[in-house]
Amino acid sequence: MSENRFDMGEIDIAWCPGCGNFSILKAVKQVLLELDIDQKKLVMVSGIGQAAKIPQYIKTNYFNGLHGRALPAATGIKAANPHLIVIAESGDGCMYGEGGNHFIHTIRRNPDITHIVHNNMVYGLTKGQASPTSPTGFETPVQNNGVFIKPFNPIAVAIALDASFVARTYIAHKELTESILKNAIEHKGYALIDIFQPCVSFNKINTYDWYKANTYLLGEDYDPTDRKAAFAKALENEKYPLGILYQKTGGVIFEKQYYKHNEKPLFQRRPNLSSIKDLVESKRIN
């Protein structure tokens, strides 16, 4: 892996030393390489936050948009050119907080995009406020009596919405993470990967050790096609299961619906002025 065409070379990365984001970056680049993805056809889409800086560190096309708005932008990109490989990647606050509405409705749309969430259970870039996934009791400068509302369960919600691929991993599990990422990118349709990622600067609860102690790997025998069983798994919170929790195939894929009559990506289309004239003509009679 010493040489990777997705590497940016000598750049200044704005993450804290020891942060889980580095391993995610490494895993993503590794998987892109292994899948032999043409970087010219790849678009990384993100929002704003520490996690959201990831596209800046990968040599590829990217759309680093607004906080919370990666998914609609990603959907627009995929719809405008279905030949592109689109990965939307950002933090838990970005995707489940500000972007919550897009999360649920993008799942419904089921575009063929990969959705990676760096879940550090905290707002990193804005210096340590609670995120939707922060555990109850988590103390921060604002939630100084501890978080008392229930953490958001993205896995359960995704399954409730019949997302076509739902996975969770913990970044210290390099192989698991890479294998899930590969599966997710190859999966046809929307794929969620929620990645547990320690924030060494602001999350003193959900540390490397904590994640190690509070997660387990789904067994070989686990069947990710059973939605109800997957839901039951999604509710486990003594220890969080890691792996592909739910996967289904054969669903309608969003952007495909729009390319039934015309296969050209939008940038190749030109207005058909003569048809427009015909349409105007029709306004002479009705």
């Binding site: 678009v43 096309n61 932008a73 405008a80 939008l266 002025l273």
Partner: protein, 564 residues
């Protein structure tokens, strides 16, 4: 008689729209100039709505208060129109629908709409009987009506068609009797060639303009009065290769559209006040990533939900300054259907060429008003597509001599295409370098210079030797124009702005040539007047402001002019 105004009035859901549509089409096909507009409440059934159809020997393209004939479809109609009824107004309708004490208004001509329609097959034919009565008064040939009805109801089967034709015929029979009354003896002349003209409304003009501009993507969230554009494009989506996506909210709509532009689409966004308010962050994003954007904004009276189905021109300054940070933009406000069409087409060209957001401001009155016109001038699009194949060395935000960074799309060429909402360097990577910041701010703002060169100048209507200058923008154009013509005053001219930002350079000249200037707007704070002051320092002597939710009528302006 130069023109006639017929108003249909009744509850929502009572079929006014069908009558409006059939009547205006058929009269046009019969060679009459027509104009049709409507006003309606924010509800699906009940309440009181009305549609006005003007028929003219000359072209008619604007709203008049006067009513020559009212067709009452439901009780309450007379009350609803009270202020507009004169002694000369003929009221046609069912006896039971016009209350006794309303009869002193206008001339009541009872007809047994219900009875006749029941004979044909039910009350739903009431509308077609009315249509029959009206086309009868114009002595429209059966053939024209029958052909139209056949095509209009083509999907409903022959029974429906036959019954509707019978209903119209019944109506026509009645009209023969009615026409004996002098007040209903209509003599408006047909005009050669009008039958071959097109009849469209503002919604269609904008949507057709978008198609002509190469629009192939629209993401939107429904909101009156802007939804019609999306409906039109949806109905022609397959034919024109347009992706039409209704989103979960307006924020998704604008971000999806920007994603589409980034990947090579030409996206239209259509929305209205509160919906646009939600898009303001996305607008600012478009500026930072230098994405083209075309936004149709159907204004309505605010604040907040306000009067959702009414008209207003209240969002001009909001549009001009919307978005955090500083960036250029273009704002169009077409006043005629031809303008709506060609300016929307042009919006795509300008947005693409300069990578800026371009707005088209309309309102319910403009979008819902139809009139016939000979044709739409379409600009042939040849070299207007700006996407460049990117080389390995490509930098999305390169500072070039021309001032514009070539725009590439991912997957087309060997380079990489970036978009970054943070301040960025030429390669599109995040930076906090203060010098690059300054260069990038300048680069973005200097586009104003190009945009000023592309300004569509205001249109001077009336005498060049004016002493008094009326100024208006957007949808009031035709109304003010007609009133001015009507007034026969060679000391007054009307300056209409179809582009409201940036403003043309020569404005002050126009304004200073006048001894008196008046700005006419559908808002309460004279937003365009303030904009002129901001841009030129010039202050209007007088203002005519209307903000009750309705468009100006020709009479209102005429009266105003008469006092000048």
């Amino acid at each position: 008689m130069r023109d006639l105004s017929i108003v249909l009035c009744g509850e929502a859901g009572s079929g006014i729209q069908t009558v409006e549509r059939v009547l205006s089409r058929v009269l046009k096909l019969a060679g009459y100039n027509v104009f049709a507009t409507k006003e309606y409440m924010s509800r699906i059934r009940g309440g009181m709505n009305s549609a006005e159809i003007r028929i003219g020997s000359r072209r008619v393209d604007s709203f008049v208060d006067k009513i020559d004939i009212i067709v009452v479809l439901n009780k309450g109609a007379i009350k609803h129109l009270e202020n507009r009824i004169s002694e000369r107004t003929v009221i046609i309708g069912e006896k039971t629908e016009v209350v006794e004490n309303e009869r002193h208004l206008g001339n009541f001509v009872p007809i047994a709409l219900r009875e006749i329609s029941e004979e044909i097959g039910g009350e739903i034919y009431k509308n077609m009987v009315s249509v029959g009565v009206l086309v009868g008064l114009f002595r429209v040939r059966d053939e024209i009506i029958e052909d139209y009805i056949k095509s209009y109801f083509s999907e409903k089967g022959t029974d429906t068609i036959d019954n509707n034709i019978r209903a119209v015929k019944k109506g026509k029979e009645i009209s023969v009797e009615l026409a004996k009354r002098t007040s209903l003896n209509i003599d408006i002349s047909q005009v050669d060639g009008v039958d071959k003209e097109i009849l469209i409304n503002g919604t269609e003009a904008v949507a057709l303009g978008a198609l002509a501009g190469g629009c192939n993507f629209i993401s939107f969230y429904p909101m009156s009065p802007s939804t019609g554009i999306a409906v039109f494009l949806a109905q022609h989506a397959d034919e024109f290769g347009v992706i039409v996506e209704q989103t979960e909210d307006e924020i998704a709509a604008i971000n999806m559209a920007l994603g589409a532009w980034y990947a090579g689409g030409r996206a239209l966004i259509t929305t209205s006040g509160g919906g646009f308010a939600l898009m303001v962050e996305g607008l600012s994003l478009s500026a930072m990533i230098e994405s083209p954007a075309v936004i149709h904004l159907g204004q309505r009276p605010g604040p907040a939900t306000g009067l959702p189905t009414r008209m207003g021109q209240e969002d001009l300054l909001f549009t001009l300054f919307a978005g955090h940070g500083e960036f250029p933009r273009v704002i169009y406000a077409p006043g005629s259907l031809q303008d709506a069409f060609s300016m929307t087409q042009n919006a795509f060209i300008i947005a693409d060429k300069y990578q800026v957001p371009v707005f088209i401001l309309t309102d319910q009155y403009f979008l819902d008003s139809y009139y016939n016109l000979p044709d739409l001038d379409i600009l042939e699009m040849k070299n207007e597509f700006q996407i460049k194949e990117v080389s390995k060395e490509y930098k999305r935000y390169e500072i070039t001599e021309s001032g514009i960074s070539p725009r590439g799309v991912p997957g087309y060429g060997d380079g990489l295409v970036t978009a970054d909402s943070d301040e960025h360097d030429e390669s599109g990577h995040i930076t906090e370098d203060h010098e690059i910041r300054v260069r990038m701010v300048k680069k973005r703002l200097e586009k104003m210079k190009f945009l000023e060169e592309e300004v569509i100048p205001p249109e001077l209507i009336g005498s060049e030797n004016y002493k008094i200058l009326l100024v208006g923008w957007g949808s009031s154009r035709n109304v003010i124009k007609e009133a001015l013509m009507e007034s026969n005053r060679d000391d007054i001219a009307f300056l209409h702005f179809k582009q409201v930002y940036p403003l043309a350079g020569e404005i002050r000249k126009y304004l200073e040539n006048a001894a008196k200037t008046v700005v006419i707007e559908n808002n309460a704070t004279s937003q365009f007047g303030r904009l002129i002051k901001l841009e030129t320092g010039f202050e209007f002597e007088a203002k005519l402001l209307k903000y009750n939710g309705l468009a100006f009528s020709v009479e209102e302006i005429t009266e105003f002019i008469s006092k000048l």
